[in-house]
Subunit: 143 residues, 6 copies
């Protein structure tokens, strides 16, 4: 970052979003008892839930009128409408073949937003997802 | 409180606990569409979840060795083991005939702790329960 | 609160809202220097601003379908549209004859919401307003 | 509070202060082992420490120029200079004959501030002291 | 960072500061209506305000007595005295030819601190500025 | 990070832990007055304390059953049991020859965890340690 603040990608903008969702950590080819041994109370059969927080990092382009408003719309359309007030295992197509752990939720949202912003003046950097206020996963050192 | 700090019930001790749970807001005699009209996204059929926070208020007795350690045990035994990593509608007996709204969760925990501390040197005051960091319900003005 | 959780007004529901606003603390019949002596940097002539947080406390009625959705609409219509992204001295009619201090902001919002909820199933209790995360004013011991 | 916002004591102003201090929970007439049995790791002989937070509640008088500046000075002079960056058992006179528990710290600060504000236009209401972000003690339902 | 903790620049020290300020987002060659279309409520003519938070990242030198005290003085002198309790558009020279957006505020403070610490034993790394608790901008991946 | 989310080290998992401890900042070959001049109130002879927060960053391996449970055990065994409810200068061997400043605490914990995880499926990345909610030190740009 030695050239900062002179080069255009110097600044990262970060915005936070919330969603409330249920999930269950369990391997489908194991019994409830086996899953309990592996995942503990996170394998409770009827699921449990969290208030997730999502932080999105982008670089803004040079247009002074480009603002975070567009980011809000992209995140709402491509992430929140699928995740908020949903059961991540049962209501979304993303966790059929992998666990809805906080790491995998972060990877999934990263892929969704990378694609959504591929044709946008916003340059996508990465995400951080909190499952609780003590546990999070990030996909970039800038978020 | 004019007599404070001289009378013994002057001080309220408050301690916070967390639990992660799923719930669904829906009236059982209504259709999914009717529940959607009433409760919005909170009626999503497979449920959703929250990181709940529970604050418990007690008065300590005069024994200098009486400490919050006992409170932790009571809250773990009488509340958290029933609520943490559970689906409140499906895994607990408390919300058969009323909604697992944050108000009713607070009332339920209040009743559980009032009974649990009836034979304890700790004098129970009330609780506050947060469903998100913006929404909570309390059962006493002291918590 | 001894009868809690049995009597209907046992539970207080609290919800938080944000607004960003400018204000200036100054007595109109004083010079800038006199106001500086009284109010310090809060009297800066072009104003300064805060992210205010508003907590509203209500009692819910007995209708199980009555939900906080209505509260959101009332607060948006009667408070936020007047306060959010405004200059409190210049853009609102509320601080013509009194300082837009955090105490007076709390009193003003209390009066607005008390009137707005006078014909509502929600029973208004009071408000708390934060000017910074270290300074707030409340109009009820229940909020 | 039915008369609020009309009567003069309707509004409570709250301000937060921090201090970092050490303490040890132990009864002087017990051995280290006995204290360990009673107080657990809080009895560690060389002490341990916390970032304490202090919230002070006052009512402001009718003078529009009366501001929180005065409160800051009172709290600094009568509390923080004795408590901040100190060992509560060894550096202050307040915990010779009682434990520096969070409840007793709250009672001590309540007494100090009640006396300090007895001749002040600020009307003292009470305090809340946090030992951690999960454990606190309050001396009034308004703080 | 594989060599950490052995090489001298392994550790980044971060300290947070607050300032309360007003700003307005608007292009001077546009009408109020055009600015409203571009910037929404952020273009309100009399401005609005925020509690900004500033996080500064530095590397400390090898002198064990070098402490954050010096950083406080630098930030106070070179940033806070210009920004705190000010209207960023009207009271500072920094936003004559660019918007006082959170990205530009971060870039401006980065440049001020980079120059201020050029002759200091503290090695400046970068800053992060929050406009609200959900929106921030950073000038280094280490802050 | 352009290859993310495809390469295996894309995701960083972060978990937070707390410990309460005392410390004193002073050079042993200086007088109390000299240390006061250098370190201010942080040199108070009987020490003072903080609620420290520790954030640990790791990469998880490819085993879907590998979970943060193991991280908790490692941090408890190798860090918290030595630091929590201790006097860092007097009760630990780590600060004999260097100051228990937040930078050195971070470096010490980094070294302890790097060694502890050298034979673990968890790949250690770095730590961040907060001394107060405004002051922290990190050993990696990813934490």
């Amino acid at each position: 970052m030695t050239a900062c603040p002179d080069h255009p990608s110097c600044v990262t903008l970060l915005r936070d979003y919330d969603f409330a969702a249920s999930h269950r950590l369990a391997l489908l080819d194991r019994t409830d008892d086996e899953n309990l041994a592996i995942f503990g109370k996170c394998s409770s059969p009827n699921g449990h839930g969290h208030n997730y927080r999502l932080r999105v990092a982008v670089e803004l382009g040079d247009d002074p009128a480009a603002r975070s408003v567009d980011l809000d719309r992209i995140v709402e359309t491509h992430v929140l409408k699928h995740f908020d007030h949903k059961h991540l295992n049962l209501d979304t197509p993303f966790f059929m073949d992998r666990l809805p752990s906080v790491e995998n939720i972060a990877l999934t949202i990263h892929a969704l937003l990378a694609e959504a912003m591929s044709g946008s003046p916003l340059k996508f950097v990465g995400v951080r997802v909190w499952e609780t206020d003590r546990t999070s996963a990030s996909t970039s050192e800038r978020v």
